[in-house]
Amino acid sequence: MPAGTLYRGREGMWSWVAHRVTGVLIFFFLFVHVLDTALVRVSPEDYDKVVATYKTPIVSLLEYGLVAAILFHALNGLRVIAVDFWSKGPKYQKQMLWTVVGLWVLLMVGAIYPVLGHAARVLWGN
């Protein structure tokens, strides 16, 4: 198809895009995660070696991203379910989305220390 402009959807469309992107991301992460966990069947040493790399600052940052993705997907998933089963859901979908985003921001701020704290300690010491 020849280039047209991007469709200027509103909240509903962009939240869906985000939901889809996060869902796919999580799926691929899960795939890898099961593979690495499977190493416990192979050799504890290898497992610990892999897990050790998880403790590097870069991967911590990725981990933070993963938490962000899962949290958004989970919260927005609940919103989608509310739209599906609550008769007023479609009417309040935007309000619910902003609630989801608000909650998500709160939780992500809350997750900074637990998730990134370790990395900070590694980088800058205690």
Binding site: P2, G4, T5, L6, Y7, R8, G9, R10, E11, G12, M13, W16, R20, V80, V83, D84, F85, S87, G89, P90, K91, Q93
Partner: protein, 257 residues
């Protein structure tokens, strides 16, 4: 009866009655495609002076009538009831005849392009046949059993209100062609067909609901909707399209309608 309103003119009324025209210059950036000339669609800019109280349809007419007669688009009623002129204005589906220039940002070019997901035949004209085919596929007509009554079938005002929203559809395709699922897969029935199925499923006089639900239970039916709300945002008749779709989904699960 007296009218208190006539003494104190509201500013809105004053503005509406202002007959002096205040022309502004706008750029209309239209996506042109004419297969008789080229296989490529191109953007063409038209500069015109127009009163911001006029519609985008008036601007298109100005282009067609005064600048370039080859510009092609559909239109008829010019006030949002016939559903001819759904197009993408500044990136969103709207009716050109219900979009006033002043409601767009006239400082930037106003982009106008055909609706997505249907074959572009020329300029802003798309092939509507697949759209109407999906509509016909949901059996959009009253199905009844037994003898016809001599007078009207009775229906309480509450039962009538149950499906009022979806009777407003003018089949303009703004919703279906705003749906991301439909853009990628024209097999999806699309919101407009579901809206029109809803109109009958929830009509207390109709007895074909089961059949229609079965059709929409199809792999290209309601379950493909991802609740993106583009349809609801696009509908020029203000139909709560996504809500109607959700009601059909729930009716399919509970088999109560």
């Amino acid at each position: 009866m007296s009218t208190p309103t006539l003494e104190k003119h509201s500013s809105a009324l004053d503005a509406a009655e202002d007959s002096a025209s205040h022309l502004i210059t706008v750029t209309l950036r239209i996506r042109r495609f004419n297969p008789e000339v080229s296989d490529e669609a191109v953007w063409v800019d038209y500069l015109l002076d127009i009163d911001p109280k006029e519609r985008v349809l008036d601007a298109l007419h100005k282009v067609k009538w005064e600048m370039d007669g080859t510009l092609t688009f559909r239109r008829s009623c010019a006030h949002g009831v016939c559903g001819s002129d759904a197009m993408r204005i500044n990136g969103r589906n709207r009716l050109a005849c219900k979009t006033l220039i002043k409601d767009l940002n006239p400082d930037k070019p106003i982009t106008v392009e055909p609706i997505k997901g249907l074959t572009v035949l020329k300029d802003l004209i798309v092939d509507m046949d697949p759209f109407f085919q999906a509509y016909r596929d949901v059996m959009p007509f009253l199905i009844t059993k037994g003898n016809e009554p001599t007078r009207e079938r009775l229906q309480s005002p509450e039962d009538r209100a149950r499906f009022d929203d979806t009777t407003k559809c003018i089949l303009c395709a703004a919703c279906t062609s705003a749906c991301p699922v439909f853009w990628n897969d024209g097999q999806y029935f699309g919101p407009a067909a579901i809206v029109n199925a809803h109109r009958f499923i929830f009509d207390s006089r109709d007895e074909g609901g089961e059949q229609r639900l079965e059709i929409l239970n199809d792999k290209d039916g309601v379950w493909r909707c991802r609740t993106t709300f583009n349809c609801t945002d696009a509908c020029p008749r203000g139909i709560e399209v996504t809500k109607a779709i959700q009601e059909v989904k729930r009716a399919l699960i509970t088999r109560r309608f």
